[in-house]
């Protein structure tokens, strides 16, 4: 069994909230990518987590940028490095779901269509957390946010980011989450060693935003996978591959751990279960046997 290396690039004094999935994700991602990495960070929680002026807890060079510009800035960095004979440096965009599914989608589509040699990571905590938990197009059906307070909670499903990006015919797309750290790291390693555009979609528990207990983040991430809410898979050159087969456990286990779903009754849970079923029917057809 492969051991996770002990070299810590992300510094422990980062400013994340306890139980932050986005931060554990960064820790693992950097372990996989190594120090020859630069990161582009738009407006999001990571703007804060990485430390104020003069600090850089990521441990590798970071360019903070405007909310919607991550992919384009990363493309520019990569092109510039190439021209200067520094093609061995990995260029990673690291954005939230708002910066990816919403305001940054155009730039993301541009970079994907050009197949620019960057890794675009979306750590998805399913809302605009940095501005205080407003809905995004990644907020799931039924979730409460400050702009979707019950009874006007979100009544539309999450966008399918991976399939949107897959429509651009890029070499590598993967989903991962902190509950499966080795799987996550393997996917980052694969992304690092693949030329062209890569997308990694990370499910990221957020205790203040999801109204969950700080110590339960890994458990919630695990349940997101096991209930079928967040499928773990890869798309390599258009070929879908399931990387973890869920047990399809009762979705209520997942919902009840998070205050953002506390207004939902069993009927709503059934709707969510049905949505999962339908999503998996579509997905299963795509997976290779």
């Amino acid at each position: 069994m492969k051991k996770i290396n002990r070299d810590e690039i992300l510094q422990a004094n980062h400013l994340a909230c306890p139980g932050c999935g986005a931060t554990l994700s960064m820790r693992l991602a950097l372990k996989a990518l190594g120090r020859k990495t630069v990161i582009v960070i738009p407006a999001c929680c990571w703007t804060i987590i990485n430390g104020p002026h003069g600090k850089n807890y990521a441990g590798v060079p970071v360019f903070h940028t405007a909310f919607e510009t991550t992919a384009a800035v990363a493309s520019g960095i990569k092109a510039s490095f190439d021209m200067q004979g520094k093609s061995d440096i990995t260029v990673m965009g690291w954005a939230g779901d708002g910066g990816t599914f919403d305001i940054g989608l155009q730039a993301l589509s541009g970079a994907a269509e050009r197949n620019d040699d960057i890794i675009y990571v979306c750590y998805d905590n399913e809302a605009y957390m940095n501005t205080g938990i407003q809905r995004s197009s990644a907020t799931p059906y039924g979730a409460a946010t400050t702009t979707t307070p019950p009874p006007i909670q979100k009544d539309r499903p999450k966008k399918d980011l991976m399939e949107i990006v897959n429509a651009h015919e890029v070499p590598y797309i993967a989903s991962a989450t902190i509950a499966y750290p080795k799987d996550l790291m393997k996917k980052f390693e694969k992304a690092k060693n693949t030329r062209g555009f890569k997308l990694i979609h990370l499910f990221s528990p957020c205790p203040p935003g999801h109204k969950s207990v700080e110590s339960k983040s890994v458990e919630i991430a695990k349940l997101a996978v096991e209930t079928g809410i967040f499928p773990l898979y890869e798309i390599e050159n258009g070929v879908h591959k399931l990387t973890r087969k869920p047990k399809f456990t009762d979705v209520r286990e997942y919902l009840y751990l998070q205050g953002r779903f506390k207004h939902l009754d069993d009927k709503e849970a059934e709707i969510i279960t049905e949505n999962i079923k339908q999503r998996w029917e579509k997905l299963t057809k795509k997976f290779e046997c």
Partner: protein, 379 residues
Amino acid sequence: MSKKIVIGGNDAVAYAAKQSFVDVISAYPITPQTSIIEKIADFIAKGEMNTRFIKVESEHSAMAAAMGASIAGGRVFTATSSQGLLLMHEVLHWASGARLPIVMANANRAVAPPWSIWAEQTDSLAQRDTGWIQFYASNSQEAYDLLFIAFRVAERVKIPAMVCMDGFLVTHTKEPVEIFEDEIDDFIKIKEKREVLDIDDPKAFGALAFPKDYMPIKLEQNKAVFSAAEAFDELSEQFYDISGRKYKELEIYGENSAEVAVVALGSIAETAHLAVDVLNNSGIKSKLVKINMFRPFPKKYLDAELKNVKHIVVFDRNISHGKGGIVKDEVTGSLGLGNVVGYVCGLGGYDVTEDDMVNAVRDVLDGKVKEDSYLWSEK
């Protein structure tokens, strides 16, 4: 040896970008800028230019990618116009705040609606507070020359620079332009040291600054923009030694002891040369004060040129609705002058002739026009 070829401002800019050894260009097409990037694509296709061209999906991403390329250490060029420049607005602030010496050509074009593709400077003047150095070229040769100087000035003070030229009137009007062979190489190949993304010295750029840090950073940025004037003086002198063409913050034409000064930027200044001749020939001692560098604002030079002039008439091919001409306002406000009359004119490419300008000046001298006014008569 340099040679003269007959080209418009757009081609002139493309040649200058090619001869500036640009590492990365990221750009998006818009009339009347388009032929700049087409020409550059052509140079690249022919193997004459070793540059990575990122064909972005918008001007917003053009400036964002330019920032990435610049913070990674490359020399970066882009070009846009009007709606494209406006779309960049947020990122323009970011580029200057991040102290990235990107150089951009802007084809000055009116702002919609209604749609217009013709000359007007409201687009770039609306970016005057973004922290960019701004040059205004009034012919193709100036556009060509100023691009080289812009790169050197921008890199010296670590502030981005835009070279503006009026849509069609400069971008597409073919004139003889002297193009270098390799005389410019020593000048343009110099690249100043600056902070870039460095894996051996991992820093974060642009992180959250608390008030105690933010203000000094901004004052430093402001100082850097001001210092561009000095850098421009020094570098344009070097450029003069190579080319024989001299550039200053202002170009003065006409009578030294003028009683009338006509102030303009861009292609209207070309017409103003003729208007000043007419006025001088009719016994009205006049001079043209053409602004080449609008940011940093050439206050010191304007002061020297305007303080003893009785009547100052500013022609503004732009409009700040509810206020008036932007250049007039800046001149008056910066110098504290009371004897300035502004004409808003030539919007959306509307023709401004030497006769229009002469009559407008005469109306001021005759006391017919005492306040800011509009040059408008259907032709």
